[in-house]
């Protein structure tokens, strides 16, 4: 008799269900596995056999044949071990076939029979739930993320021994479904960023720019001399990012799970903040591999992708960021299919204004105009066109840096991240309300249709915007981006209609012409 269980193969950030079939027949003792297997799946043979023996189960001396179907999907990863072992147990009569038929098994086996966690559990569980699989069995490591899917019963096993004993019970006890919202709330309160905006001295103008950018998830470019606090400010951003919704939480955890970046089954409760060094390879950013794993760009989905020293990045990488930033997803094509990864990120970039970094302080900067132009032209116009907010980070006065407080020191205390976050949350709530059931979440994601619907303004304001469009030679995209930013500024001010002030402030955040093409 052939015994059957279900496993899953990871395909990008999705998964396909795989049927495990085991047949134990007569003949010379052997243990064969077929079904387009990668070498790590082939190695399952040794792991399963030894794990079973060490759990006190001896295979009969006959031909054991294992087939993983459909045979046209290449199977990678170590998550098939548990499914294969379970199918063997069914074949040996230790587990009833009826009980194990519609069950997904995910886990890697240790030689002593213990079940270990693997990457990509959430996508597998989600795929199973979609196919109406009734139950899934996962290791202890993966149980948290598996519980995010509410349409399936999740069972946790730590060893083969526990697996058998659980399946011999009349009714298998499942884990409690996860209360995502509670989990997020708990983490949100706890989130204590090492970097707080109260550590950033002065820089009121940049802080405001960061606040607006975060409130609407707009792309941000910080410019300034070396050592003035660009990086510090960027590192403070996680502390003011708005709370995740449960929907977003599942989306993000799924990508991180598939990328193996959530340390075995932790739920991602905070918006990701991914900082990249400029020596990163294109495939590590965009995602790659034969069976593509999501790159840094997708791992930052729903959060922030931070590129320090922006012009140092190879031009190829900067340019290839353009399309994903615009569309919110990246498609990676391989011979055996296309893989789509979501990339709704807020891009934060930091750069110097010239090669030496001190322009326009001519006492220190010796760069010629030509050199400055060449440096700035490393970032193409189309890329700069996608930056919604451009802000200057200034040199700090020595009296502001002074650590010892004097008697009549009238320095203002710096605002805490917590307070900024409160304002961001207000704007976020307004947006949540606005985009209910529309598939988008932030002002930055609005399409031209939405802009018409949500960006109402009076005639005078409209006139100012059109005037700026003509005078500053804006592109249509820049025009729309300004509208989006002004929507966010008005949201921060809790205004129904976009006001003149919001529009003007939004225009002033635009990347200045001088950077796009001088002379």
């Amino acid at each position: 008799m052939v015994s059957k269980t279900i496993c899953a193969a990871l395909l990008g950030v999705d998964a396909a269900l795989v049927q495990v079939e085991v047949d134990i027949g007569e003949g010379l003792p052997s243990f064969d596995m077929v079904g387009l297997l990668a070498s790590e799946v082939r190695e399952a043979r040794e792991r399963v056999r030894t794990a079973l023996r060490n759990s006190g189960i001896f295979l009969p001396s006959g031909r054991v044949t294992i087939n993983l179907s459909p045979a046209n999907i290449r199977k990678e990863g170590t998550g098939f071990d548990l499914g294969i072992a379970a199918a063997i147990l069914v074949a040996l009569g230790l587990i009833e076939q009826e009980k194990a038929k519609n069950v997904l098994f995910i886990g890697e086996l240790g030689l002593d029979g213990r079940v270990n966690g693997i990457k990509g559990v959430l996508p597998m569980v989600m795929a199973a739930a979609k196919k109406r699989v009734s139950m899934c069995v996962v290791s202890k490591d993966n149980v948290k993320e598996a519980c995010l899917e509410s349409d399936i019963k999740v069972v946790q096993v730590e060893s083969i021994y526990e697996l058998i004993s659980k399946f011999q019970q009349e009714e298998i006890q499942g884990e409690n479904a996860c209360n995502i919202q509670k989990l997020i709330d708990e983490n949100y309160k706890e989130l204590s960023n090492k970097f707080d905006f109260s550590q950033v001295i002065g820089q009121a103008s940049s802080k405001r720019a960061v606040e607006v950018a975060v409130a609407g998830m707009h792309n941000l470019l910080l410019m300034g001399a070396p050592g003035c606090g660009k990086s510090l400010m960027a590192k403070c951003i996680p502390g003011i990012l708005p709370k995740l919704t449960s929907e977003e939480c599942i989306e993000i955890t799924r990508i991180h799970s598939a990328g193996g970046k959530n340390e075995f089954g932790n739920v991602v409760c905070n918006r990701p903040f991914i900082s990249l060094h400029h020596c990163a390879t294109p495939s590590s950013i965009m995602g790659g591999g034969i069976n593509p794993t999501p790159g840094a760009l997708s791992l930052a989905h729903g959060g922030v992708l931070y590129l320090d020293e922006f012009p140092e990045f190879p031009r190829k990488i900067i340019e290839s960021l353009r399309q994903p930033l615009e569309d919110g997803e990246i498609t990676i094509s391989r011979v055996h299919g296309n893989f789509v990864f979501q990339t709704d990120v807020m891009l934060v970039a930091a750069m110097n204004p010239c090669p030496c970094g001190y322009y326009p302080d001519r006492n220190r900067c010796k760069c010629t105009e030509h050199e400055i132009n060449r440096y700035l032209s490393k970032i193409s116009g189309p890329m700069l066109d996608r930056i919604d907010i451009c802000s200057q980070v200034d040199k700090i006065d020595s009296k502001d840096l002074q650590i010892v407080r004097e008697k009549h020191d009238n320095r203002k205390t710096q605002e805490k991240s917590r307070d900024i976050r409160k304002r961001v949350e207000v704007a976020r709530e307004i947006q949540k309300d606005r985009f209910k059931n529309s598939g988008i979440r932030f002002n930055s994601q609005m399409n031209p249709e939405d802009l018409k619907k949500y960006c109402s303004m009076d005639k005078e304001t409209c006139g100012i915007l059109n005037n700026a469009y003509e005078k500053l030679g804006l592109s249509a995209r820049a025009y729309h981006r300004i509208l989006k930013v002004s929507r966010t500024i008005s949201d921060l001010r809790k205004e129904e209609n976009i006001t003149k002030e919001s529009v003007l402030e939004a225009i002033s955040y635009k990347v200045p012409d001088v950077l796009v093409g001088r002379q």
């Binding site: 009121a204 326009p360 001519r362 006492n363 105009e369 030509h370 402030e505 200045p512 002379q519």
Partner: protein, 368 residues
């Protein structure tokens, strides 16, 4: 062969720079004589043997000459030589006058010219001032002459071109070569609005030592020299020195004593150079009128702008001020200041030089 052809032949020879020609002309009266001189006679002048061989090789020389004539025709380059009728008179009297001149466009005629020179890596202040001075001079009918280098030179040329004034550039390479390359646009505009001048034959590549040499031509062709921004011991000061030797007035734009870029200028003023405010001093000096009579300069109308905007506008000047700086000074909200600055920018009253740094835009007409 006509006389000009002998000249073109001579300057077309390999390695025939100013110094060698000077040596030759101590013994000969015209290039024609050199052309027909035997090697024995040439030896008496004391030039090197290799150079004599080059002069003697008539076939190669003629080939080169034909090639150069072709280039002159094709590129529409005019050729002048020392002692010719229409060779600029101003250059006849300077130290080491150039023997040959190649011109794309035209040579300056009787009009008054002011040389505008200064640093390549200039500040926003220098940039704005170079433009302003050139514009004011152009309105008074005074042209400019400079070296088409990056920075101040370029802005001086731009200022003249924008106000439809004459402007001339003296290059340190052949006139058919645009150096620096990014000034291609400017190069063509100067050729149309005045002329590009060089003592070197077409095709001569730019070399470091040729640039200080051309400064004597810049000062020679001008009636006075305005140094806009120069560091201590800057190359621009060479032009000023040449001008003094040639007996011309030197003007300098004062700057703060702490600004390195103004040190050279301030030193010039200390040593007796005229001081530039906006170019009227130069007009007054060249035209021999008083300051008040010199052309009136349009001032930006600031009466109509609202009080808040005016405060910000008045705080700004030609030195870039950062947004943070303005916010601190006005003791106001960042968003508010951003709004005001944007309004001023849309009015063309303020200009954002680089991200987050603002200056006053004095020439409202000039969109930079």
């Amino acid at each position: 062969m006509e006389e000009w052809m002998y000249w073109l032949w001579l300057c077309g020879l390999k390695g025939m720079w100013q110094g060698k020609m000077e040596k030759l002309f101590q013994y000969f009266h015209s290039p024609e004589e050199i052309f027909f001189a035997t090697s024995k006679i040439l030896q008496t002048t004391g030039i090197k043997y290799e150079d004599i061989e080059i002069i003697i090789d008539k076939e190669k020389g003629k080939k080169e000459l034909e090639k150069n004539i072709r280039i002159l025709k094709k590129e529409k380059i005019k050729f002048y030589y020392y002692g010719q009728e229409n060779y600029p008179e101003k250059l006849m009297n300077i130290n080491k006058p150039p023997y040959t001149l190649f011109v794309k466009g035209e040579l300056p005629k009787k009009e008054k010219l002011c040389a505008i020179v200064g640093a390549r890596a200039c500040s926003e202040y220098g940039k704005a001032k170079a433009m302003e001075v050139a514009v004011n001079l152009a309105q008074a009918g005074i042209g400019t002459i400079s070296g088409m280098a990056r920075g101040i030179d370029s802005y001086g040329h731009y200022g003249s071109i924008e106000s439809a004034g004459k402007t001339y550039a003296v290059l340190g390479c052949g006139v058919d070569i645009c150096y620096p390359g990014e000034n291609k646009n400017l190069y063509e505009k100067i050729a149309g609005n005045g002329g590009i001048i060089s003592e070197y034959k077409p095709g001569t590549k730019p070399q470091g030592w040729q640039f200080p040499m051309r400064n004597r031509i810049i000062s020679g062709l001008s009636d006075c020299v305005a140094v806009i921004e120069a560091k201590h011991k800057s190359g621009s000061l060479i032009t000023a020195t040449c001008a003094l030797e040639q007996g011309k007035d030197v003007f300098a734009l004062p700057g703060r004593t702490t600004d390195k870029l103004s040190t050279g200028c301030n030193e010039l003023i200390r040593d007796g150079a005229g001081m530039i405010f906006d170019g009227r001093e130069i007009i007054a000096s060249l035209k021999g009128v008083t300051l008040d009579e010199s052309a009136g300069i349009e001032n930006v109308m600031t009466e109509n702008i609202p009080e808040e905007q005016k405060r910000v506008y008045d705080f700004l000047d030609t030195t870039p001020k950062s947004l943070q700086n303005i916010v601190d000074e006005m003791e106001s909200d960042v968003s508010k200041i951003r709004v005001i600055l944007m309004e001023l920018q849309l009015e063309n009253l303020v200009f954002e030089v680089t991200n987050g740094y603002y200056v006053k835009n004095k020439n409202k007409k000039n969109k930079r």
